[in-house]
């Protein structure tokens, strides 16, 4: 071997400090509530939240469904909206990046809709679709499509112009350049969009459920707030955060697998 592997030893303090930080965070949280610095009507201790979680696994009271049902409803809505936004947003963005006609026809409308926060659509979707699945999927779709379109568009636009000229020189048609050069070179940007879109979808899912829903994690949070049960609110927040993080990790793994051969 021409080189020796150098092992960099992590100093002990760099291992201890993060662990200590997390532990003290939970201890302070627990202590604040247990010793009465913060009244129990405002914040629930971690142990209390854990108890509530165990109870909520099997008990539909007081908000009408067990935790698994809430989570399943949310994941279903988020997933449908997310997939729809990918299926429509990515091809649209790619086409906008390469074909001038598509760009000219779609961009003004897209630019008009883009600055509206997706939550602002909630009243209209309630008018149009009621408070069922469709309305929420629509809002999540609106939320997810924006980063998909932008990233695919920028990805195509950032294709190395030298390569495009070379392909032209070798007599490639417009369509061939688009499919065989621009799309592969835009892929890393497109995959970046997957993560961003997921985060957007997840945020707006909670927003959609806060206002118009009868099950789902966002609904759990709202009901907890209305019933003055901070343990349920915190439980809902933790479930939302946790499931979002898990899905993010899964997408990251898929991305690594698919993009293994492409230099980032």
């Amino acid at each position: 071997m021409a080189y020796q592997e150098v092992k960099v030893k992590t100093p002990l303090s760099m291992i201890v400090l993060p662990v200590a930080s997390i532990c003290s965070f939970f201890l302070i949280w627990e202590g604040l509530v247990d010793f009465g610095f913060v009244p129990e009507t405002l914040l629930a201790a971690p142990s209390q939240v854990f108890n509530t979680m165990v109870v909520k696994l099997s008990d539909p009271n007081p908000d009408g469904a067990v935790l698994a049902v809430h989570a399943w409803t949310s994941i279903q809505e988020a997933f449908l909206g997310y997939i729809l936004s990918l299926v429509i947003g990515i091809p649209l963005g790619l086409a906008m990046g390469w074909f001038k006609v598509v760009e000219g026809l779609t961009r003004p409308v897209f630019e008009m809709i883009r600055p509206i926060p997706p939550i602002a659509w909630i009243p209209l979707t309630v008018f149009w679709f009621g408070i069922g699945l469709t309305g929420k999927v629509f809002i999540i779709w609106i939320a997810g499509i924006v980063p998909c379109v932008i990233n695919s568009y920028v990805g195509v636009r950032m294709t190395n112009p030298v390569l495009i000229q070379m392909a032209r020189t070798y007599g490639a048609t417009n369509w061939q350049i688009f499919t065989q050069l621009c799309i592969p070179s835009a892929l890393p940007m497109v995959f970046g969009a997957l993560q961003i879109a997921l985060a957007y979808c997840w945020t707006n899912l909670v927003g959609a459920e806060l206002l118009a829903a009868d099950t789902g994690l966002g609904y759990l949070i709202t009901m907890g707030g209305r019933l003055m049960r901070p343990d349920i609110v915190v439980l809902g927040m933790i479930s939302v955060g946790l499931s979002g993080a898990v899905i993010g990790v899964i997408i990251d793994a898929v991305e690594k697998k698919l993009l293994a051969g492409i230099r980032r």
Partner: protein, 282 residues
């Protein structure tokens, strides 16, 4: 007319080659396409509303404009239109300034000091995946339905991207730049002040832009849940009294307000850090 110049041994042609005017060229003209797109958007909207294809829940565009005009003339829930716009903008400004003033220096400090990083990062990572809107309920529990709870949500929402971008901005500075300063005899202080801060400014501003759009989402969510003024209140009132014109008017106003604040931030950015390399983006 051909204007040519020689740049780095290459002859560059600055002259425009005029193609003959043809129908195809006119149809594929970008501005022509833009106007076709906008026009057809409004016409389709108008027709859909006119023939009640979506029930009575969509109104014709000119009725939305009329509604907005009426709001400027009379008071609605104690405020005229400017009052509502200002109520929302004020919340954004307060929350956004507080969050960025705390989060950006904290992010810079975390990137420069590994002990601060080791302490703050794990706790921060716990909060990161939680959508800011999930905090709405608990902030109402804590702060009631007044201004404080709305500002709190905006701070929560804008804190994360501000801090993350400042942090990543410093960490992604090209190491060669540090080497240059060291070769020229700079100390650690020079490295930070002369290299780190200027090089991380574009990333920080990108974070501020993201924060701003999240701030609008947050203020809207907070106002939809509980408020007596603001743009979210207009939309909510339109929803409760089933007035689509009011809802659509609120959406238009939010879009305009969000767009103009981000334009202003962009202007400030160009003023403060003109060295930002701009990629062609939307």
């Amino acid at each position: 007319m051909n204007q040519t110049a020689s740049v780095a041994n290459e002859t560059v042609d600055y002259g425009r080659q005029r193609e003959p005017l043809s129908l195809l060229r006119l149809v594929t003209n970008l501005y022509f396409l833009y106007s076709v797109s906008l026009l057809s958007f409004f016409v389709i909207w108008d027709r859909v509303a006119e023939y009640h294809l979506l029930g009575d829940a969509l109104v014709r565009p000119h009725l939305v404009a009329l509604q907005l005009y009426q709001l400027t003339q009379m008071k609605f829930a104690g405020q005229n239109l400017m009052g509502h716009i200002w109520a929302s903008t004020q919340r954004i400004l307060v929350g956004f300034s507080i969050a960025s003033v705390i989060a950006v220096p904290l992010g810079l400090f975390m990137a420069l000091n590994k002990y601060a990083n080791a302490i703050v990062k794990p706790v921060f990572d716990l909060f990161k995946p939680m959508p800011p809107i999930a905090w709405v309920s608990i902030s109402i529990l804590w702060f009631g339905i007044g201004e404080a709870s709305k500002v709190f949500i905006i701070i929560i929402g804008t804190f994360v991207p501000c801090l993350l971008n400042a942090y990543n901005g410093v960490r992604l500075v090209e190491p060669e730049l540090y080497d240059v300063v060291r070769v020229l005899g700079g100390k650690r202080r020079d490295e930070i002040v002369q290299v780190c801060f200027p090089a991380s400014f574009p990333a920080i501003f990108a974070g501020l832009q993201i924060s701003l759009s999240i701030a609008w989402t947050c203020v809207l969510a907070a106002e939809l849940m509980s408020s007596r003024d603001g743009l979210g209140f207009l939309i909510k009132r339109g929803m409760d009294t089933h007035k689509p014109a009011l809802v659509l008017g609120g959406m238009v106003l939010i879009a305009v307000a969000a767009w103009s604040t981000s334009q202003i931030l962009g202007l400030v950015e160009r003023k403060i850090c003109p060295w930002k390399r701009s990629i062609e983006n939307l």
